[in-house]
Amino acid sequence: MLYLKGLVVELGGRTIIKGVDLSLGDGELALLLGPNGSGKSTLLHAIVGDPRYRVASGSIVFEGKELTGLKMEERVRLGLGLSFQFPPRLKGIRLRHLMLRILEKRGLRGTEAEDALEEYSRLLRMESLLDKDFNVGFSGGEAKRAELMLTLAQKPRLLLLDEPDSGVDVENLGVIGPAILHYVSSNGGAAILITHTGYIARHVKASGAYVLLDGRIVCSGNPEEIVSNIMQHGFEACEECRRARR
């Protein structure tokens, strides 16, 4: 479904991603781990085509199509959905309105749209927040649930999830994790999920994991092993592992 080959990405003139190869098949969910500043968010924004990030070289192939020349609008239309780590607050725009507009883009109207809205808001326990302005006064967990709800409502083929679990308590994790798992397993899409902590790994049944250090993937493989190693030894262990392999 997704192939990255020798991807180099710049942000504000600085090279952040320094040659990444990655492949993801249908139905797979890959964890992307790495310390702050290693380039995880940059990688996801570059895949979705955020114009603030510039692909200097390499390629991004999604379902057989080269994406690097396409605008974000076109990539989203092809089925990419990025869940932001820090979505903006949108004053005056109610969550309900935003959801209905997104569902409308998918061709759902009237009662069909209302039913879908009810289903998504139940899945992510957002019923009581639908008439609030998007992200205005939301708690950490509410903001993450709202962002995931909007992303899932787009029904993307490829879910790019930027830290859906950061700053989220156990209870919220128990809502967010299963929602992601349910989505990927029932829609046949794929997902890349950035996480710092790995706690969410227990909920989502990852098929693979990648560790990003300083813009390069230094390790990939069995998610349980990688997560438990990082939990025990931190990312320094990955650094050592990389040095040892050189």
Partner: protein
Amino acid sequence: MNLEDARRILKPKAEKALAKPAPHGLDLALSGFKLETGFGTSVEGSEKTLESVGIDLRERNRSGSYYQVDNRAVYSSARQGGLTVKPLNEALRNPENLDYYWKAVPVDTDKYTAAAFLGEKEGYFIRVDDGVDVATPVQACLLLKTPGLIQAPHNIVVVGENAGVHVITGCAAMREEAGLHIGVSEFYVKKGGTLTFTMIHSWSKAVHVRPRTVVRVEEGGVFISHYINTSPVSSLQTYPVAHLDGRGSRAHLSSIIMGRGASQIDVGGALELNSPGCSGEIMSRTIGLDSSVTVARARVVGGAPSVKGHVECRGLLLSNESRIDAIPELEARVQDVQLTHEAAIGRIAEEELLYLVARGFTGEEAKSIIVRGFLQVELSGLPENLVKYLEGILDSLAASL
């Protein structure tokens, strides 16, 4: 005292003020316009335009109506006991009603009120008797048809003790030719009464607009005003003043101004919190398009203890040629007042646009969603179907950009 006596007393004051410019806005030479009755005699053929400013000629969900074309009253109706809706001249035959005649708005406010008084033709008179709650809105339509005319309706609304009414005023011009609209409005809200006033303007690019509104609110009374200006004007200047005279009275003034074309707009509002426990807020949303210039003023005066006032002026520039000035003012005359303001003018945030594009919207859709969010003001105190109607207007304004 009868109407002639009242006018005789006021006349010298008005004559002296005929050259007095308004403190704000473009100064107009009145000699360029004539204050005559005009040739318009009916609202027929204007259904669509009137619908766009909140007027339903079939009077569905309306308790009463008043239609004025140019300076002629062409229709009025009241369908509820305790509610009076009449042309002003008819109402003023009752000497009791002279108590409200040029009592809130001084005739010598400026040259526009003076000219309106001296050439006075017509306007609406709405009265709600004590204790009467008028369930559905009363609508007033002021249509300008004759080119070169001064349309100067003089409107009076009296809300009795513990009474309540919603008034919708829709104003529109049927032609692209020059004209001047001077609407003098005097509103009186008695003890415990509630007046909500919704005004929608759809003038044209050659029309000058000078509404002159003063509101007096007694103890525990509530005045809520929502103003929406949707279309280009040559110039528009208004500065309604609400005097909260009675204890615990409240006011809420909101305005949504679309600066289109080469409009020169100066819209403000003032709250005078004259009695203990009064509170109120002024909210404005201004959008700068094309080469429009808009000044958004708001002033709250705390003149009694334990009053609370807030001003919120927001501007959104959508064109490099347009300009918005926000001028919030607060004045405290006694201790123990709580007056606050916030003002912000900006462009659409790139971050918000990109976010919405990532959510699957086109750049244009993203922009209109953000603009709609900007235009969202609290439409408090209005009946549900009126809120829906106004939200529909805001939706189409946002989508039209």
